[in-house]
Subunit: 176 residues, 2 copies
DNA sequence: CAAATGATAGACAGGATGGTCTACTTCTGT
DNA sequence: ACAGAAGTAGACCATCCTGTCTATCATTTG
């Protein structure tokens, strides 16, 4: 992959995630990255194609980060602990690769696009299913309902952390 | 409140919720409502003011719907049941006053606006806190952790129902 | 009746947007 | 060294955006 193309994706990722996709114009990405407009349109046929590339990259980034966080858990309880600890770190900006926390990029992006069948929304859906599949695989022997519940809980945590500007959700959720 | 003003709020609410705020221009609202531009700017000083009015209205609508759903629960288990049943009906478009399900208007809106301290985001936050307060009040004697967990679970359900186009979340979440 | 109020239609301004295109420069592989 | 590829700068286009303003019409109220 061309370095310019990668720079564009990285820069767009940051701006889109931080401010939302409709709020960021092509020109802002160009100015911020210092790359020429022609170069962008050499690599991407449209803004949407660039958006899809950022989603794709974030998807791999996130899944690989999360699966690393869940490694080596001995019991299901331990795995849940590791999951919540990972979320807590993310929410409190202690995970460099994920950037400054602003909720889930996929939830946020899906929220911006009404058309359910658009490629963008489909990617967001695929990402969430992949996260759920990762949990299922990590949770040995657990029934589907337990997986489901853990997944829903973490979705709630991520969403609430952002919408309520609540950096302590995880701690409170864990108190019994 | 002037009838024209109310019509504008209703119409804008529908379009914003269905397609997202940045995706809907003032002119679209005017065309769809058949109201003149001057009239809109007589009642609202800007698009943002109109957005805030729709959030305010949706907030009251939603809270009053939800509190009606939670009425008359005898036990905390029953209350949780009623909550999940309500979510299920909403997600499956059986609640007329809430319109065709497209996730949580407040989560979606917050996702579109990067500035955390903007009036729009503050309203979204206030709404979520009000929902949590409603749950806390409805759940007699329950500890804060139980309230928190129920709240996070429903946030996860709403978010997942939309992002994953998953109309069966509630059913699956309830299976033990 | 007359005055005030509220609504309408739509032109208009000023700026931003996504995207195309040209002319020029720099890098790279053989 | 030289050809072709890749990048740059930015003018330009058509369209859309929010918001203002004028001129006209309808309704109500004193």
């Amino acid at each position: 992959m061309s370095t310019k193309k990668q720079q564009l994706i990285d820069c767009a990722m940051g701006l889109f995630y931080q401010h939302g996709i409709h709020a960021i114009g092509i020109n802002e990405i160009l100015k911020s990255s210092g790359i020429a407009k022609k170069t962008l349109y050499n690599h991407f046929e449209s803004k949407e194609a660039l958006v899809l590339a950022t989603l794709e990259q974030r998807h791999h980034l996130f899944i690989s980060w999360l699966s690393r966080c869940l490694e080596n858990a001995q019991t299901n309880e331990q795995l849940a602990e590791q999951l919540f600890s990972a979320l807590d770190q993310w929410i409190n900006n202690k995970v460099e690769v994920l950037g400054e926390f602003r909720g889930c990029y996929f939830i946020n992006t899906a929220a911006e696009f009404g058309e359910l069948s658009s490629p963008i929304n489909q990617l967001c859906q695929r990402h969430k299913l992949a996260v759920k599949a990762l949990l299922k695989q990590a949770l040995n022997d657990a029934d589907d309902a337990a997986v489901e519940r853990l997944f829903l809980l973490s979705e709630g945590i991520i969403s609430t952390a952002y919408t309520c500007h609540d950096t302590d959700v995880v701690k409170r959720a864990l108190k019994n």
